[in-house]
């Protein structure tokens, strides 16, 4: 930890110096970055993903539209993929009794951050990026997720301009829950595929 703090202090100074120079040159304005961070974190969160999943679980029509054209369908919830530098194509892939999906970007860790916010630290790691395409069951096992032999696994490598989100299966026993109650069932890892839900 001490080493981290030392590195942090140096890097922190470097970043501050860089910002000063850019402000001097009129390339950024003071306070602009703080505002942008605040706006981003407020609007881009895994809760958006949970809302999409909960709606898909209770509304078959919405689910069909979501799987066919996710960018369009999420607008029905007041959500959009447009919060970033450009609107990216969102592809939602559905887990079923016979198929389990898991998402990665082996080349750099692309993730639907405009919708869900920043990716988890492990998602960015070389360990995850290198292994999940080669041994997804092994990686999922490390997350505590064991899949039956009758379940086919598909790994989606987001190597171009599409961003992926998993539609997990609705767990048994949630039939009585209202849409708003279902929100709490969905986890961030479920949206990536390293958890069942």
């Amino acid at each position: 930890m001490t080493a981290d703090h030392h590195v942090d202090a140096t890097v922190s100074q470097r970043v501050r110096r860089l910002e000063s120079l850019l402000e001097e040159r009129g390339i950024i304005t003071a306070g602009e970055l703080e505002d942008a961070i605040e706006t981003f974190l407020a609007s881009s969160t895994p809760l958006n993903g949970a809302r999409i999943v909960a709606r898909a679980w209770v509304d078959e029509g919405f689910k069909s539209r979501l799987l066919a054209d996710a960018n369009e369908a999420i607008r029905e919830l007041g959500l959009s993929m447009g919060g970033g530098l450009q609107e990216q194509r969102l592809k939602v892939v559905e887990n079923t009794a016979s198929t389990h999906n898991v998402i990665v970007c082996t080349l750099c860790s692309c993730y639907p951050i405009a919708l869900l916010g920043p990716s988890p630290g492990w998602y960015k790691s070389e360990a995850y990026r290198s292994r999940v395409v080669r041994d997804p069951r092994g990686v999922l096992g490390e997350f505590g997720l064991e899949l039956g032999d009758d379940v086919a696994v598909t790994v989606w490598d987001a190597s171009a301009e599409s961003r992926y989100m998993v539609l997990p299966r609705r767990p048994a026993g949630t039939e009585g829950l209202a849409e708003s109650e279902l929100l709490g069932v969905v986890t961030r890892n479920g949206l990536i595929g390293t958890a069942a839900v």
Partner: protein, 99 residues
């Protein structure tokens, strides 16, 4: 002189082979699929080629990007899963016959 693909060359279900090029700069073909044969899942629309954009070029014409599915067994000789990779048309050829 390579010409830009002006129409979508591949359709869902087509077998395609990833080119075995070794580009000197930025590219979005993971090493593990170079030369591999896969099946087109769908077309994602048209986007400017990342390799060209990375050279700082602004006006790069968009070309089709495809979701291509590969069997792990074909990529590594073992594994029962499949991997899909999103690939620009420039990265692909229709020459997918077994050799």
């Amino acid at each position: 002189m390579r010409s830009w693909p002006v129409s979508e060359h591949f359709r869902a279900g087509d077998r395609v082979r990833v080119r075995t090029g070794d580009p000197p700069g930025h590219t979005r073909v993971p090493r593990y699929v170079r030369g591999a044969v896969g099946t087109v899942v769908e077309s994602q629309g048209r986007y400017p080629l990342a390799d060209e954009r990375a050279r700082g070029r602004a006006a790069v014409p968009p070309e089709p990007v495809y979701t291509v599915r590969f069997a792990a067994c074909d990529l590594w000789g073992s594994g029962d899963h499949s991997v899909t990779v999103d690939l620009w048309e420039t990265y692909l050829t229709g020459d997918a016959d077994d050799r």
